[in-house]
Symmetry: C2
Subunit: 189 residues, 2 copies
DNA sequence: CCGGTTGCTGAGCAACGCTCAACAAGCTAC
DNA sequence: GTAGCTTGTTGAGCGTTGCTCAGCAACCGG
């Protein structure tokens, strides 16, 4: 609310608007956040938002991409580590991510799967990249079948970790071991 | 367009409106179909739709529930069959369902996962019922852990069958056998 | 001080969800 | 048949929201 009506650089404003979108993500499905609300929070007019993002969709896909990049950056393994540790580390960090940002992550996944194809595509890209990283770390060939299997395993993981975070029916290490075991069984063919 | 302006019974109208929603489902995400469009197709005024469904959300949750019930009815096994056949039969019919209604099913699942909590709940209910049926057929106890695992397995199945229908990387029987094997491994603990 | 670039605004349009008062089609009763 | 009731149906209109456009205002180089 302070510094209202201040003139900002284009990059600053864009970043600020995306940031506001990220803060609103846990509260509201991406596609449902209104231009009015975002503009009000930024202390600017509706029109200005359309100066930076030609359409509402363009805006919230940018927000979605930012959220996806945040998660991806958090999950990516250190390139030096041994292969096995890389995958387990990613799994561990993913569980931690869901634990920490439960609501926003749930909102993110929901918005990502549903409704808008553009948003769905952003998340599909993210999953693809995660699968590539995992296959590389496991030193497995990247054929169509294996890719499909690992993607489906990721859907399995998302669902299980989500419900586990809601009501843990097993210990955290057990969860991670189970996920790891299913992944190994699926890829060892 | 024929029979326009005809007076219908309340039940007829409701059924017609839901039917129109079902026909529009493959084309449009549930929440995005407009009252105008539906009313236009039904040959009635916008106001009449609000006479049957107090709010737009009430309308498209009704449409979603109708879609879910259609699928559920198609998947439920004949009660007389042997246990093993029941589960495999459901799997087989599920794959067939996705093959037949690829686009509408995709649209349905997307709408179900994303955006509106009410719609998500309808589909969550459907999955719960499917899991109950599966656990009963497998003659397994219905504890929290197993339920979570089977639900997650269903997410796995949805994803894999979806991508398989898009680009089959294995034969249909192989797909079903794989899914069945993963389910058995997960529940045999 | 002046002109150009650019961040920024306000008024306003179109589409959409939703409300409300009233009309009219079909039924029963006389 | 017509009076009267029920109920399916409509049109006008309001508030919100996505989006446009013409122009203001702040900074900057000359």
């Amino acid at each position: 609310m302070t510094a209202s009506r201040s003139r900002r650089s284009a990059d600053d404003r864009r970043a600020q608007l995306v940031q506001i979108g990220l803060e609103l993500l846990p509260t509201t499905p991406v596609q449902e956040l209104t231009i009015d609300e975002v503009a009000r929070r930024a202390g600017i007019s509706r029109s200005l938002l359309f100066h930076y993002f030609a359409t509402k969709r363009e805006y919230y896909t940018a927000v979605t991409r930012a959220a996806a990049d945040l998660m991806l950056e958090h999950l990516l393994p250190e390139p030096g580590a041994p292969a096995d540790e890389q995958v387990t580390g990613m799994l561990d960090r993913y569980v931690g991510w869901v634990e920490t940002f439960r609501e926003s992550h749930l909102a993110f996944v929901r918005g990502a799967g549903g409704g808008d194809p553009w948003v769905a595509e952003v998340y599909a890209d993210t999953r693809q990249r995660l699968v590539e990283v995992a296959l590389t770390a496991l030193d497995l060939p990247d054929d169509a079948l294996r890719r499909q299997l690992v993607l489906a395993w990721f859907a399995f993981t998302e669902d299980l970790v989500g419900s586990w975070a809601d009501a843990p029916a097993m210990s955290r290490p057990e969860l991670i071991a189970l996920l790891r075991e299913v992944l190994d069984r699926l890829t060892a063919r």
